[in-house]
Amino acid sequence: MSLLDSATELLLRDLAPQVLGSIIRRFRDFAVAEDAVQEALLAAATQWPREGVPGNPRAWLIQVASRRMTDYLRSEMARRRRETAASAELENVAPAPDTALEPEQDDTLVLLFMCCHPALTSSSAIALTLRAVGGLTTAEIASAFLVPEATMAQRISRAKQSIKASGMPFSLPTGRSGNLEQTQRLRAVLHVLYLIFNEGYTSSAGSHLQRTELSGEAIRLTRAVHKLLPDDAEVAGLLALMLLTDARRAARTGSDGELIPLTKQDRTLWNSNQITEGIALLTATLSKGSIGAYQLQAAIAAVHDEAARAEDTDWPQILALYDLLKRISDNPMVMLNHAIAAAMVHGPSAGLELLDALDADGRLTGHHRLDAVRAHLLELAGDYSRAIAHYQTAAARAASLPERNYLITQAARLRESTG
């Protein structure tokens, strides 16, 4: 889609789920409809720069995708050698697209529920969501995940097969258990959007530029869900968390892609518009009463973002928020961050005691982050030789190159300043 200007590209991406929803309603085959819409988007990407954007771009896309569907069904029927019986059938499934009369229905949520189906692995759900709802091409998704296009095409095609096999209807869950199911499915959708955001956010600057677009895409999709479900506090919480985290992107890595921890970041590089928007969203949800994990994480990010200097950070408030988060989330990473906050408020030995509890818990055994945090707290406590040893253990266990480099640099710095 590189031929398009960014406004048109965004228009295509916004229209993608609407067009797909309309094609699925008409033809009732998600897998084939998804391919047809992808072809229509590609056709638009090549024709519109030449011929201009049509007056009704949505209708144009629906018409092209419908034609593709009809072509597909026709060849499928020919393949089955049932031409005579089938031509009548074709009239029924493919009426002339009367797009002007079709009500504009936003199927984004139904599509997201489908693409984030619990039967899919998260890597499949991510790929399918980006293509079917995000309107990205297979090539773009493949390049973002640094795999060959053919591999990504297979991943998407297998995901669609799994959805087909699950027999899931194209509609929102309804009935007595519908509300509960909707809540659970929405949770799965938010988790996938969160993973997409992290995929983009965790790419280091410079080397994998295209990956950072994934964060923007995750924010755009979460914004769309927030627009559809403005009263859902966790949707707003996730959007706020993304904005408040993404705001620090420019300060997070140095010129060689090296990681810069929060305490050392140049805070003038933080994006104040994103911080303002994130805090406003968060404030609006907190007044509604119910509090979920995304809101609490966003609140913690907001406290960091509000400090003009690292030493101004309101650690007691962060500690209180982690206390709340620990009550609703049984995640050992939360316990780890809680230990850091406790160390900042009550001193390193309080944090180290909490790490001993994590050792006993066992779920982070062998995880480099446990060693990295212990090294940091031991350094704060002045126990440099053990701090160096834990930085080195953490470095040997890290699977992330920038983080490994950060940890060995920490060990070296401490060796030189104390040796």
């Binding site: 795999v147 060959p148 591999t151 890595t253 699977a399 992330s400 190159l401």
Partner: protein, 131 residues
């Protein structure tokens, strides 16, 4: 998460492979082909390459002006890298499963070679939770 599966062979590996009966060589090649095809179809394939005979290999060092200095003979080693796969999978267990499958490639008489496959994680970008 991405893993590299490294297929190592002993010093004599290339010669003994070449001296197998035609049928066994063909079975081995067909096996590798079908393994790669399966990885493509499962959406886990990133890349795979086989390396030329180590007798063709050179060891290169930078000289005074950065000019390449090549040693005439490749140093004797107990094992050589014969080829590798890079795969993108959901868990380390899945990487081990694929490695075991590659390890069982057929050798003389079609019997599985059970060669050692070294599995190493490819390093990724910085973690999400880093602050």
């Amino acid at each position: 998460m991405k893993y590299i599966l490294m297929m190592n062979c002993p010093r004599t590996g290339y010669d003994s492979f070449a001296s197998m009966p035609k049928q066994d060589i063909q079975a081995h090649i067909a096996f590798m082909h079908s393994l790669n095809k399966a990885l493509r179809e499962s959406g886990e394939f990133v890349s795979a390459e086989g390396l030329a005979d180590p007798k063709q290999a050179k060891r290169v060092r930078a000289g005074k002006d950065g000019e390449p200095i090549t040693d005439g003979v490749f140093p004797e080693a107990k094992e050589y890298l014969a080829g590798y796969w890079i795969i993108d999978v959901d868990s380390p267990e899945q990487a081990y499963k694929i490695a075991a499958r590659a390890s069982a490639a057929p050798g003389p008489g079609g019997a599985p070679i059970n060669m050692p496959i070294e599995v190493r994680q490819v390093m990724s970008g910085p973690p999400a939770e880093f602050s």
